[in-house]
């Protein structure tokens, strides 16, 4: 059983990393990776939302939608729930880390539209995970997102000093870097067997 949970974590963090392998959540990945400091906070916020989001979504799916035969409402209700969780996180942040809140700016409410955050609960529902599995799946996804975002931010900070040819400056080189990271993550393929 523990091995099973362990595999879920390995799978979501490394093998099926949501950003580099599933290519979800690229918006914050590109947007909030200019500075290491902000990326760390963003990844923490996203990991939190992902875990709570997948758990609440599981609850809604399990107790509300499935018994009432309302599976077709899944996407809609998940979006509503996630929006709520994001709002909640934002409020906590604004109160306790006001500067951070300012720094993250628009990207914080945008967690709502982060496809990774919707994607993970949907994947959970699709593979009919249990509550623990869902939580681990969300948590693993969050950790995977965090690791990759923080690493990407550290790479981009290093790139600040590089003499990148003008046409490739900014988003272009960031995407190239992301793709090489993705290439590197292919090395994990097969680890979850």
């Amino acid at each position: 059983m523990i091995q099973h949970y362990f595999l879920i974590i390995i799978s979501t963090v490394l093998v099926n990393n949501i950003v580099l392998v599933k290519i979800l959540g690229l918006c914050p990945f590109m947007g909030v990776s200019k500075k290491l400091e902000t990326s760390i906070s963003m990844s923490a916020a996203t990991a939190f939302v992902l875990t709570i989001g997948s758990m609440t979504s599981w609850a809604i799916s399990h107790y509300l939608l499935e018994p009432n035969d309302l599976v077709y409402l899944r996407t809609l209700s998940f979006i509503v729930v996630i929006a709520g969780v994001v709002q909640f996180t934002e409020m906590i942040m604004e109160k306790n880390f006001p500067l951070l809140h300012q720094l993250l700016g628009i990207f914080l409410p945008l967690i709502t539209t982060n496809c990774a955050v919707l994607g993970i609960p949907l994947l959970n529902a699709q593979s009919s995970h249990t509550l623990i599995e869902s939580a681990l799946f969300g948590f693993g996804g969050g950790i995977g997102f965090s690791i990759v975002l923080i690493l990407f931010a550290s790479l981009r900070e290093r790139l600040e000093g590089a003499e990148i040819p003008t046409p490739f400056k900014g988003a272009a080189i960031a995407l190239v870097t992301a793709s090489i990271m993705s290439l590197a993550f292919m090395g994990f393929a097969g680890l979850d067997r």
């Binding site: 923080i150 690493l151 550290s154 790479l155 900070e157 290093r158 790139l159 590089a162 003499e163 990148i164 040819p165 490739f168 080189i173 190239v176 870097t177 090489i180 990271m181 290439l183 590197a184 993550f185 292919m186 090395g187 994990f188 393929a189 097969g190 680890l191 067997r193």
Partner: protein, 339 residues
């Protein structure tokens, strides 16, 4: 006013460093030719020509001085490393494409010498591996193991052949690498000592491959002596690979190959002395180098044993390249007078 002190300097130039790296590759390449024939030389020549042409073009487009940046030798080092990493019977366009990818996406897109985040040779190799898996995993068997003796001219013909060889030819000339072979045979529930009796296994690693690795080892020791590389990286890498392999080997010698086998097969030695020692994409602090080496050793082992690819060097190096800025900033040495 050219007001710069110090007015004196005593340092080898970048070119000297890079050409010494090339020199250090020679013994390994020589043994490669001795065991496998001339294919690798053809690949090296193709890679060198490609890299010089490609870099000149890129430098011209970027309006940079061409001569100093060709003569610095860093492009050649990447190209040679790529050429010795791919199978020597791969068709000519493999190395050409690989070198082009390596020099554009690995190096110049980041600004050229000194700016690349990833090891250029490994970027090229990894793209080739996932794009042409079948070609990239068919390794030539040593000449003296082949049933039909082939002439050196034939080898050049094989490489220069643009369309793929027939299945029979390939099967006659090539096999999986020892690492790959073990992996596939283990899934068929064969015990390891039976597997290792196959003709492709030699004294320590793959037959002939262990000899080539010894050649690289000699080159690596030469670089250590010349202070081109520091001891931290190769020692940390080889030690961590050795110990993780030792642990698994002592638990289940039937399924896990011996630590020495792991060190002497695949690209371990090449990786230890030539690939992870690339200063640009590697960490710079002594502690960072040790962590980097250890992590690559572990990753190589994990990918070899549990992953989907037979050899993990390229992926392990690229993965750890991602960590380099973090490693560097977290392993700053204690400054004089600081706590």
């Amino acid at each position: 006013m050219d007001n710069r002190s110090p007015y004196i300097a005593d340092a080898p130039s970048v070119s000297v460093i890079m050409f010494k790296v090339l020199l250090a590759l020679i013994p390994g390449i020589a043994l490669y030719v001795y065991v496998f024939g001339l294919g690798v030389i053809v690949n090296i020549i193709l890679a060198s020509i490609t890299v010089v042409l490609a870099e000149s073009t890129i430098l011209a487009i970027r309006k940079l001085p061409i001569k100093p940046f060709i003569l610095d030798g860093s492009g050649l080092v990447a190209a040679w490393l790529l050429a010795v990493s791919i199978p020597s019977i791969a068709p000519w366009w493999i190395i050409v494409i690989g070198t082009l990818l390596c020099i554009t996406f690995g190096k110049h897109i980041y600004g050229g010498l000194g700016y690349n985040l990833f090891n250029p040779a490994m970027v090229g190799y990894a793209i080739l591996l996932i794009s042409f898996p079948s070609i990239m995993t068919h390794w030539q068997i040593p000449i003296n193991l082949m049933e039909n003796h082939i002439e050196w001219l034939d080898q050049i013909k094989i490489v220069m052949n643009s369309h793929l060889l027939s299945k029979e030819t390939i099967d006659a000339m090539s096999s999986a690498t020892p690492l790959d072979y073990i992996k596939t045979q283990l899934t068929l529930n064969q015990p390891l000592n039976i597997i290792q009796q196959n003709k492709i296994f030699g004294f320590l690693g793959g037959k002939g491959l262990d000899l080539v690795n010894l050649g690289y080892l000699v080159g690596g020791l030469y670089m250590l002596k010349e202070k081109i590389i520091s001891w931290h990286l190769p020692v940390a890498f080889l030690a961590s690979l050795f110990f993780i392999a030792l642990i698994f080997y002592s638990i289940a010698p039937d399924t896990y190959a011996s630590p020495l086998f792991h060190i002497m097969s695949g690209g371990s030695i090449l990786c230890a002395f030539f690939i992870i020692t690339d200063p640009v994409s590697g960490p710079t602090t002594p502690k960072g180098k040790i962590y980097f080496g250890i992590a690559i050793g572990l990753l190589v082992f994990i990918i070899r044993i549990f992953g989907g690819y037979p050899e993990g060097v390229a992926f392990a190096v690229l993965l750890m390249n991602i960590f380099v800025p973090l490693i560097d900033s977290l392993t700053q040495p204690r400054i004089f007078g600081h706590k």
